[in-house]
Structures are given as structure tokens and as C-alpha cells.
Symmetry: C2
Amino acid sequence: MPETKRAVVLLSGGLDSATTLAIAKSEGYECYALSFDYGQRHRFELEAATKVAQANRVEDHITIDIDLRKFGGSALTADIDVPKDRDEETMSAGIPVTYVPARNTVFLSLALGWAEALGAFDLFIGVNAVDYSGYPDCRPEFIEQFTKLANLATKAGVDNSGKFEVHTPLIHLTKAEIINKGISLGVDYGLTHSCYDPSSEGVSCGHCDSCQLRQKGFQEAGSVDPIAYQS
Amino acid sequence: MPETKRAVVLLSGGLDSATTLAIAKSEGYECYALSFDYGQRHRFELEAATKVAQANRVEDHITIDIDLRKFGGSALTADIDVPKDRDEETMSAGIPVTYVPARNTVFLSLALGWAEALGAFDLFIGVNAVDYSGYPDCRPEFIEQFTKLANLATKAGVDNSGKFEVHTPLIHLTKAEIINKGISLGVDYGLTHSCYDPSSEGVSCGHCDSCQLRQKGFQEAGSVDPIAYQS
């Protein structure tokens, strides 16, 4: 029997990363989940991440604190309003104010650091280029370039002891396809959190881009979103 | 008169980064210094970073806390002994245990995030490929690849509003050349800290790779190292 391979899976606690973790598990990886407390407005997603990690019985789950509010520059980390009730056309035009400068580069770099310390060569990230709301660091060419960097930045880039791969199983799926894939793998979407601007009790607003994409996804998947929304 | 350009300069508080900051200033950049409290054994370098930033009258100096001890895998962040009194041949053979997994990738990613929030396109890092002790993330090919990534990962990679450049003014200099360059620019090396394993009062050990490279550099530069060492 081949040795089980370890993978580091970025886990925000949202719908996409929960599905990505389920896919990594279904492919036989021993999963190490990595979350970030980066000063995001929607810190409720971290409680969701913990629940999703437990439900998937990951080998380990680490949350790294890294205060990106010190840089500012995003509606998720600075005092800028989160846009609400935007139509699809507006949502897909340009880069939204919820973009956090270099966020996926930072997150993947840290996943790479943990992977190297663990002896893992597989990273999983739930980026999506279909419903991606114009984030530059969700594009396939970004992922390709990061993979090249990973294979130069590390010991393996010197001694050829292995080759890093960045898995993006959702990158070409619609939200509805992601949800159907997750349901087929038994993902409990009731544990996940997507809203950028929840109430102080953690109830989703239903109107930010993230809530809208989620609700539309469940509709198109012909399925019911199990989480509550503010009325 | 052309507008002053902003640069984000990685500042550890060591000899190399202090010289790099002086070079960035001498080239006319408005400097934003970035340091990391990553759980390093030699946290005294952060006090040095603050002094060096003040001496150079930077526009701003941010220290980001990011606990890389959660990953382990390095003598600088885990309970592994720092090697002492190694000869040059041993020092340059292989990757030392003081290598921190993906550290420069993480640091440059965060510098990129701040640069993007500031509207800066220039990053400075004091990596060195001569005395570099075998760290994979100090090689010129790593820097080239990171630059390509930076130009895909960000808004500028979508709207072509600018092009990121990673400046490595020390990359091909010997330690003696770095010191002579710094002296010509007025760097006060008495403010800097290089030791990986200082005493609890912050006095340098004189025996780790970093102390040895520093001492040899001052000798070859025909100059006196102004810092104290344990007797």
C-alpha cells in the first residue's frame, strides 16, 4: 500500500474551501487545514473553519494570526463599506473593494512554509475563476506562477527532493457545480460561513457579493442553503 | 521635479537590511520599512530594526506579528540548536538548520500587500547570493520568479497600472563590499543586530554562522565592528 500523502488545505470556513477540503480527503490525502485570522470583518468564518475541520477529522488545524489591517486597502480589513445588492454585471466589472492586497499570495506562502515543515508537497486552495468577482489572485495564471515560485523558494528547489503542486479543484466550476460536488461528498454546508458583513451574532446579511453568489449557487443547484440570513 | 517614489523595504535589523535601506534612501525613494516578529529566537533584531528605521527617518515602520513557530522546522523558530563555530566549507555545504521554511516568500508576499495598499511598486530586500549560507530563497532565480508572481497577483496585473520591481542591491556583493558600501552611505552598524543566538541581554554570541560571516566581513573590509560580543 502506498504511503498516505499529506496535503495542506487552505480553509477559510466558506463554502468553497469546505468543498475543497472534502475533495482533498476523497482523493486520499492526510489533510492539514490552515486558517487565517487576518483582521477580517467576517471573523465568524473562523468558527466555521473549526467546525468544518472537525467534521472532516483533519490531522491538524492551525490558525495563524496576521493583522492585515495594518496595511489597510480593503473593505474586509479597513473602514470601507462592503458593497450590497450589486447586480451581476457590476459585480464582475473590475476589482471590488473587498479585494485584500496580495491575500492569496500571503496565504499560499504560509501554506508552503507549513508544507515544507511537514514534508508535504501538495497544497489545496478553493479559488474559482468563474464566479471570482475579479480578484487577480484567483486566476489560473497566478496559480501556475505560484507553483513555479514554490519549486524555487524551498529546499526541494535545491535538492530536488520533491515537487510542489497547487491543487485548485474548483477553479473552473460554477458555484452550483461546486455545491453539487460538495453534496455528493457529504459536505455539511450548514457549518460554513460566506458573508462578508455578518451581524454581531454572525448571521449572514444576504446582500454582499459573497451572500449573493452563494444564494444564486444554491438556487441553480436546485438545493436549499441550510444557513440563516437576516430577514 | 518628478514625484517621489515610494518603496517598501524589508528591515530585519541586521547588517544587510540596514545597508539596503540606506541604498533605497540614497536612490531617492520614500521608504516604508517592514519588520516581522515571527517567533525568531533572536528577537533582539526587532529593537535594532526600530533604531535603524528611526535613524533613516523612514516614512513609516510596521512590524507584523506572525508566529512561524506554529509550523516549526527551523533552528530559528523551534527547539533545535543553532550551529556554532562551523568552518566556511561546512557552512556553505547544503541548507543549514537555520533556514526557515518559505520565509522570504512569506516576507515578500506581505511586502507586496503593503506596497499595493500604498500604491508603491518598488520592494527592497537585502538578500545575498555570495555569503548566503545555502538558503534557497536568496537566489537570483527566486527573486526573478517572485517578481513575475507579483505582477500577476495584484490589481496591477489586471489593469496594468504599474509594474512591480524587487530590488536586491546586495545580491552579488561580498559581506566586506556590503559593509564598505554602507559605511560610504553613513550606516551606523552599531545599531544593527546579526546574531542568531544572543544572550538574554541581547549580546551577540560570536560563534553562529551569522556572527562569523559578520566578523569576517568587517575584517576583510578593514573596519572595526562596533557591536559587542560575548567574551
